[in-house]
């Protein structure tokens, strides 16, 4: 199956049609088999000549995709903090007012940022989703924050003492 991957565009087209037609008509099934044979030949051909190059091309593309995926998964704090500043200011500057009959303007329901602007000024960071501290695994998640927990190799008093004695 893996060998087919480098050529997804052609094969994808053939496959999509496949399952619908298989049910009634045998000729289509035969066609499918033929197509698959064609692919095998093609694949063999490619591995013999420019196989290594293709593998490399694919790798760089995959790496780029993986990088992008990771970028999206881990929030870019810098962009989150500083990137939105300009947007906020722009929103304040432009007043998108809808007027009715040139006299009244519709008061827009408060958007999230507007709501935030008049909320409580407090520095406390409230815990939104508290852990269940009765569970053993949750308790273990902070075990090494205490002196009673496991120490790093270079800071473990017992290890350092043992080394000194040697």
């Amino acid at each position: 199956v893996r060998k087919k991957l480098p050529k997804p565009s052609q094969e994808g087209g053939g496959r999509k049609l496949g399952p619908e037609n298989i049910i009634g008509e045998t000729s289509d099934v035969e066609d499918l088999f033929k197509e698959e044979e064609d692919y095998k030949e093609e694949n063999n051909y490619s591995t013999e000549t420019s196989g290594t190059l293709k593998w490399k091309e694919d790798l760089s593309r995959k790496a780029a995709e993986a990088f992008l995926r990771q970028q999206q998964a881990t929030p870019n704090l810098r962009k989150l903090i500083y990137g939105t500043v300009t947007e906020d200011n722009e929103e304040d500057g432009g007043d998108p007012r809808e007027e009715i009959g040139g006299l009244f303007h519709i008061s827009q329901p408060d958007r999230e940022c507007k709501h935030k602007a008049d909320s409580l000024d407090c520095s406390k960071f409230l815990v939104e989703a508290p852990h269940d501290w009765d569970l053993e695994e949750v308790m273990n998640s902070i075990r090494d924050c205490f002196v009673t927990g496991k120490w790093e190799e270079d800071k473990d008093a017992a290890k350092i003492l043992a080394e000194d004695e040697e």
Partner: protein
């Protein structure tokens, strides 16, 4: 300070304190519009008016203009003067609300600040005076703000809604701040706390201590929670009780958590046992977040890093609070300082959640108004 720079504009009442504090330190005027403009009761509240009066007291030559409805505030900062001041804080917010701003400003006064604040010492909204005393003061010491006159004392305890507490805060002045390198929080070696009770049975505090210990003892044996029962005039005007806990690490990091009982006549009665247990769990949450600075003091640390000498400062923080994120944006607009922000995933270690490493180069702020002796 420079007054020729144009003013910065903001909308809404949120983050009022940080805007006024940064305006004062940078010397840039601010204009805040649309303060509760769509509210049934528009404009500034009593506690904000009280805060603005406090800013006026500790500075010299500030210009404050508020429009008739109180929805627009213009503030042109004067020089930070300091000296001996008294202030009656609004009972709608804790003294912590006012003290947090003073902690940012006090090191940069012309004369050392000696201030008496009256109001609510412990409530459910703001960081209490106990917590600020245990966490913010050691943090300021890391920046070289220290000395005999550096103290925060609770003279009287006051709970909402009546208040009646009194706090004395004095802070020496510094010309320049030391840069910090706080990248390793160390390990928690002990947990301290204060269980206080006013105008209720002193037994309440003991019950809180027992229940909090029952949870924390699973992690570390070195726990001591003081019971503090103030009587007579020193107990303020309203009954109540509460607990503040602080975990201290081997490297001098202080992480805190606190809870207070519901104010008299509001909500259901809270059992001291529940309060103790819940507060202990909040401390565990704070430890899970981790970092070298407590989550309430993140913005204070970042401010003092910004104002430090022209040298690199580093601090490892837990997840950034919404208040801190807004503070970072404000630091950018007032001081043109952007932090380098690196996420440090926790990995396989049993040390809580992901951390954030914040790095910046100080702007070399120096306190020019400090008198030379």
């Amino acid at each position: 300070m420079a007054t020729s720079t144009h003013s910065l504009g903001y909308a809404g009442c949120n983050f009022l304190r940080q805007r006024l504090v940064l305006a004062t330190l940078s010397g840039r005027p601010v204009k805040i519009r649309k303060i509760r403009a769509r509210d049934d009761n528009p404009g500034l509240r009593d506690f904000e008016a009280s805060f603005i009066r406090l800013m006026d007291k500790i500075t010299n030559g500030s210009r404050i203009e508020i429009n008739q409805t109180g929805t627009t505030l213009y503030y042109q900062p004067g020089l930070l003067y300091g000296g001996t001041v008294e202030h009656d804080c609004s009972v709608l917010r804790g003294i912590g609300y006012y003290l947090e701003a003073l902690l940012c400003l006090a090191p940069f006064m012309k004369h050392p600040l000696k201030i008496v604040l009256r109001g609510v010492t412990n409530d459910q909204v703001d960081p209490s005076v106990d917590v600020l005393k245990a966490t913010a003061l050691p943090l300021l010491k890391q920046f070289g703000i220290d000395g005999e006159s550096f103290e925060l004392k609770i003279v009287r305890r006051g709970m909402p809604p009546g208040g009646g507490g009194e706090v004395f805060f004095s802070c020496p002045v510094r010309k320049a701040l030391k840069p910090i390198q706080l990248t390793d929080p160390g390990k928690i070696k002990r947990i301290r706390g204060v269980a206080y009770s006013v105008r209720v049975s002193p037994q309440m505090a003991n019950r809180i201590v027992d229940s909090a210990r029952s949870i924390l003892n699973k992690f570390i044996p070195d726990i001591y929670i003081y019971t503090d029962h103030m009587k007579g005039l020193n107990s303020g005007k309203s009954p109540g009780f509460g607990l503040s806990l602080v975990a201290e690490t081997t490297n001098g990091t202080f992480l805190s958590a606190e809870l207070a009982s519901n104010p008299q006549g509001q909500g259901v009665a809270v059992l001291p046992e529940d309060l103790g247990r819940n507060c202990a769990k909040l401390l565990l949450e704070e430890i899970y977040r981790g970092g070298c600075v407590d989550s309430t003091n993140q913005s204070l640390a970042l401010l003092l890093m910004t104002l430090g000498q022209q040298d690199v400062s580093k601090v490892l923080l837990g997840p950034l609070s919404p208040y801190t994120i807004e503070f970072l944006r404000h630091l950018k607009s007032f001081f043109q300082i952007m932090f380098k922000i690196e996420t440090k995933p926790c990995g396989e270690e049993l040390k809580g959640g992901d951390k954030v490493l914040m790095t910046c180069v100080g702007i070399g702020f120096s306190n020019l108004s400090k008198t030379l002796k």
